[in-house]
Structure formats: structure tokens, C-alpha cells
């Protein structure tokens, strides 16, 4: 624990130098989307399933900011620590071991994503897109879980990556589908059945589905809720295990 907190402290010190830029981009981007879609598209649609469109897309926008933030930290950023700056090598000459590194990377990215996501919620509340503030607070642990799942999958990609080019595929084939086909903007049943099935596999779908009823102050189907949360937890565990095994092979063999 002492070593993981030392590693988190390192991330914090680096973040503190650049926090304005990093927060602004991770925050402003979804805020712009929220504004453009919420008021732009929303003005053409009366309601979606009985709620106004701005409120409807808030959980998706928070999830989107978490996706971008946690993915970026654990892919491009982590890869440059791993391969370019050789930070992992320097760490492994100390009592710090690989699991400390992997867990701190994931934890830090998730915490940072949560802060960014909470920022988006604040902006949404300011625009009038959050119906129940107390429910919004309840979604924070879920968004933390969302950060953990995206971060662990991002780090898994990093443990497999052979170069920076790899991450452009990740962006196109992983980040964009998670953003577009998971119910951020509209229900996934509008898509052909195969896209619907892809959406069921993508973590952002489950994050949005788990948080949307809460944020919209609607009744929560506990069975479905458990499935969403359970799926995210399992994905996190599997991705973390793969990342650990791959890094282990690449660093020590």
C-alpha cells in the first residue's frame, strides 16, 4: 500500500504541473458535446422516452469523458512511461514490483477519470440536465468503476502494443465504437441486431445503462443493474490479469 501510494504521488506531482490543460480538455470536450447535442439536436426532439434530450445524454457524456481520460492515461501515456522514458525499469530496481505499477496505473487513471466525469456532471447540472443531485452523487462509485474498467483495458492494450501506431487502431476500433454504438446518444435498438450485440459486449454500454435510470430519477431494475456492474467488474479483473501477465513476460523474460 505504501508503495502504491508512492506511485500515485508520482502521478499526482506530474499531473499538478499540467492539470489546467489536462482538466480543460477532458472537461471542455464533453461539455461542448453536451451543449451542442443537448440544445442543438435536443431542440428538434421533444423527448426521448419521456425525458428531454439534454438530460437523456448526460450519463453518456460523463461516460464519454471517462472513456477518453482513462484510455489516454493508460495507453499513450503509460506506453511512453513503459517504452520511452523507461520509468518501469527504474521502478523495478527498487522494492516496487510489477503489480504495484499495474495497480497504480489503473487506479490513478480511474481517479482522474472520475474527477473529469464529475466535472461533466457539474456542467450538466449547470445546463439543467441533472434532475436529482442526490442520485447524481450515487452514480459516482459507478463512474469510478467505469474508470477502472476502461483503465485496465487500456493498460492491457499497452502491454500488447509494439509501438505508438498500435494506439491509432485502438482509437478507431475501440474508443470510437464505445462512444458511438453504446447508447450514449440514443437507444441501441435502433441499430441492426449485430451492432446491438457488439454494444452488449462494450463496457460503455453497461456504464451508461447502469447510470442512466439513476440520473433520470427512474426506477432501477436491480437484476439488470447487477448484470451491468458485474460485467464491468469481471472485465476489469480479466484485463488487469492479462496486462500483468503480458508485462511480466515483456519486462522479465
Amino acid at each position: 500500500m505504501k508503495l502504491i501510494s508512492a506511485l500515485l504521488l508520482r502521478q499526482f506531482l506530474v499531473w499538478r504541473q499540467l492539470w489546467i490543460g489536462s482538466t480543460l480538455t477532458n472537461f471542455a470536450n464533453p461539455a461542448l458535446f453536451l451543449y451542442a447535442f443537448g440544445f442543438g439536436l435536443g431542440s428538434m426532439l421533444a423527448t426521448v422516452g419521456g425525458v428531454d434530450y439534454l438530460s437523456y445524454i448526460v450519463p453518456g457524456m460523463v461516460a464519454y469523458s471517462i472513456l477518453f481520460s482513462a484510455n489516454f492515461d493508460t495507453t499513450i501515456n503509460a506506453y511512453s512511461r513503459f517504452q520511452v522514458q523507461r520509468t518501469y525499469d527504474a521502478l523495478l530496481a527498487t522494492p516496487v514490483r510489477l503489480p504495484h505499477i499495474v495497480l497504480s496505473e489503473i487506479l490513478w487513471a480511474a481517479l482522474k477519470a472520475l474527477v473529469n466525469g464529475a466535472g461533466v456532471l457539474l456542467v450538466a447540472a449547470f445546463f439543467g440536465g441533472v434532475d436529482s443531485l442526490s442520485n447524481a452523487l450515487l452514480t459516482l462509485p459507478l463512474f469510478l468503476l467505469g474508470g477502472l474498467v476502461i483503465a485496465s483495458i487500456g493498460l492491457m492494450f499497452t502491454s500488447l502494443a509494439k509501438g505508438f501506431e498500435f494506439f491509432s487502431y485502438i482509437f478507431t476500433l475501440w474508443v470510437t465504437p464505445n462512444f458511438l454504438f453504446t447508447g450514449v446518444f440514443w437507444e441501441i435498438d435502433r441499430y441492426p441486431w449485430f451492432i446491438e450485440y457488439i454494444a452488449y459486449a462494450l463496457p460503455l454500454h453497461h456504464l451508461v445503462e447502469a447510470t442512466r435510470p439513476l440520473l433520470l430519477n427512474q426506477p432501477v431494475d436491480m437484476g439488470m443493474f447487477a448484470i451491468h456492474v458485474g460485467y464491468l467488474a469481471v472485465l476489469t479483473a480479466v484485463a488487469t490479469a492479462v496486462a500483468l501477465a503480458r508485462f511480466n513476460k515483456r519486462l522479465f523474460d
Binding site: A6, T94, P95
Partner: protein
């Protein structure tokens, strides 16, 4: 007290045998040099010791504990001055030291006085708030040394500490290394600079192709492998020497021949004008030993 013991130590990367079953023991105190050409297996041996790579076969103990089973505290008794400058480029000089201390599990209060002492030791006090990126190569290397000392280790491993540095920066590093020796730390150093090895090491292990070729004090190695005197004779060689060259130990350097003898008379009998024919005379040194043991072939890669 035995600090390091290797028995049949082996490391195989996918297709190459980097280290082929070596045995050695390192006792506490003094400086031991691990000498070898590029690709000899020096860095791999270091990495196994430090825990940056696993062992394929054999045993390697540190403080009588197999390296794979070292506790965090035991790891703290070892400091690594790594070959590449893997300082944290996102942090300042001071933060690099502070955080490295935290990675050893030291508290903020424990680290603070050590950072001061070490910045002083490596003469980087004025640079404390500078980004690591702004430091010269020599300064970065000094900071890597300070970083390795943050947990006050009893064993310090230096992997090619002066490679790529200018002469002034090298001298500064040597001073610091000798100072560490004086403080009673055990040093394990790799280098391919013979002058550095001769200057700093009490004992030298010569390694090549993943195997140990010899082991001893610099003096012992010189005595064992080369005659005491070296004469460099200009080409073309005098006829008498040319005809009898095979009875001497000699190396062709291109426009001259380096002849090794214990008794100079033996050589001078073959020279008619020694004052013009001999270009250089010097006592044999570690470089001669190294070249005899590891051959004159150029190393590719590594």
C-alpha cells in the same frame, strides 16, 4: 560476509544464451569490476541481480536470499546506477530523489535529510528545482548515482557509470565512486574502460560470451596473462625481428607491431636502431589482458 553468490547462473533470451552457467561470489567491501566487451553478458547479470529480469537456470542469492524471494527491505539494501538514464523526465531533480526514496518505502521525513545530503554529495544543489531534461549527461549520471543511494544501500551496482561522458565528467564520477568505497559500501561495477577498471576495482571478473574467463586483482590478471613490458615497434620490422616474430607474443596494430616481453634484452637483440624503431614503451596493463582474453574481434550490435 557473502553478499552475492551465483551458481550455474544462466539466462537465455528467446534465442540467445546471454549468460551460460557462471559461478562467482562477492564478499562485502571493496569494488568488484565485471569486465567484458559488448554483449558479454554484463548487463544481463546485473539485471538478474537487481530483479529486472528473471533467471533461466541456476541460483543467484543476494544477502543469502534467492533474488526472486527478496523482501522489500532486503531490496532496499541494494542500489542500482543504471546504464541508461531512466530518470523521471516529468519531475525535477529534487523530486526524482524524493520520490525514489518513497519507492523504497521511506517516509517523507526520512527522505528529506537524505535528499539534502545526496544533492550535496553529487554537487547538484543549485540544480534542485531544474527539470531533469535540462541537465547535461554528466549531471544526469550524477543524479542517477544519488538516486541509487537514497535508501543508503550497502551494495551499489554501477552499470557502465561513465559510458558516453566527457573526461571531466568521468573524473567527477570516479571521485564519487572512490568516496563510496571509503564509506565502506560494496561496489559492483561494469565497464569496458580498462583505465576505469584499473583505477576503481580491487578485483576483476572478466566475462565474454556469457562465460567467466578469469577472476583476480588487476595485478594478478596482468601477471597471469601478459609479459610485463610492451614495446611498439614501427613497421617495416627489422629483418631479424620479422624472421623470429613467432617466438614473441605480438599483436599487429597496422603500421606497427606491439611486442610483449618480460626481458627487454630478448627484443633489443633483434633491433639495430632501437631509438628509431621503438615507437613506444610501457608496462603491460589491463587493456592487454582484456584483448588477450576476449580477442581483437570487433563486436557487432549490443
Amino acid at each position: 560476509m557473502t553478499l552475492i553468490q551465483a551458481t550455474g547462473l544462466t539466462k537465455t533470451y528467446r534465442t540467445t544464451n546471454a549468460v551460460k552457467g557462471i559461478d562467482f561470489t562477492i564478499e562485502a567491501g571493496g569494488c568488484v569490476g565485471l569486465l567484458g566487451p559488448n554483449g558479454a553478458g554484463k548487463t544481463t547479470t546485473m539485471k538478474m541481480l537487481v530483479g529486472q529480469t528473471t533467471i533461466t537456470d541456476g541460483e543467484l542469492t543476494l544477502f543469502d536470499v534467492p533474488v526472486s524471494k527478496l523482501s522489500a527491505d532486503e531490496r532496499g539494501r541494494l542500489g542500482l546506477v543504471s546504464q541508461d538514464n531512466n530518470l523521471d523526465p516529468d519531475l525535477t531533480v529534487e523530486q526524482n530523489l524524493q520520490l525514489y526514496g518513497r519507492y523504497y518505502g521511506l517516509s517523507r521525513d526520512e527522505v528529506a535529510p537524505r535528499v539534502e545530503a545526496l544533492l550535496d554529495f553529487v554537487q547538484l544543489k543549485e540544480k534542485r528545482n531544474d527539470s531533469v531534461r535540462a541537465l547535461s549527461g554528466g549531471m544526469q549520471r550524477r543524479l542517477v548515482i544519488a538516486r541509487a543511494l537514497i535508501a543508503d544501500p550497502e551494495l551499489v551496482i554501477l552499470d557502465e557509470p561513465t559510458t558516453g561522458l566527457d573526461p571531466q565528467a568521468r573524473v567527477l564520477i570516479w571521485q564519487r565512486v572512490l568516496e563510496l568505497k571509503k564509506q565502506g559500501k560494496t561496489l559492483l561495477l561494469t565497464t569496458h574502460y580498462m583505465d576505469e577498471a584499473q583505477r576503481l576495482c580491487d578485483r576483476i571478473i572478466v566475462i565474454d560470451g556469457g562465460e567467466i574467463l578469469d577472476d583476480g586483482t588487476p595485478k594478478e590478471l596482468i601477471k597471469r596473462h601478459v609479459p610485463t613490458q610492451v614495446y611498439e615497434v614501427n613497421k617495416p620490422l627489422p629483418k631479424a625481428l620479422e624472421d623470429d616474430l613467432s617466438s614473441f607474443e605480438a599483436d599487429d596494430l597496422g603500421d606497427s607491431v606491439q611486442v610483449y616481453v618480460n626481458d627487454p634484452k630478448q627484443l633489443f637483440e633483434k633491433l639495430d636502431h632501437p631509438e628509431t624503431q621503438v615507437r613506444l614503451h610501457r608496462p603491460a596493463n589491463l587493456e592487454d589482458v582484456f584483448l588477450r582474453l576476449t580477442g581483437r574481434n570487433l563486436r557487432e550490435g549490443a
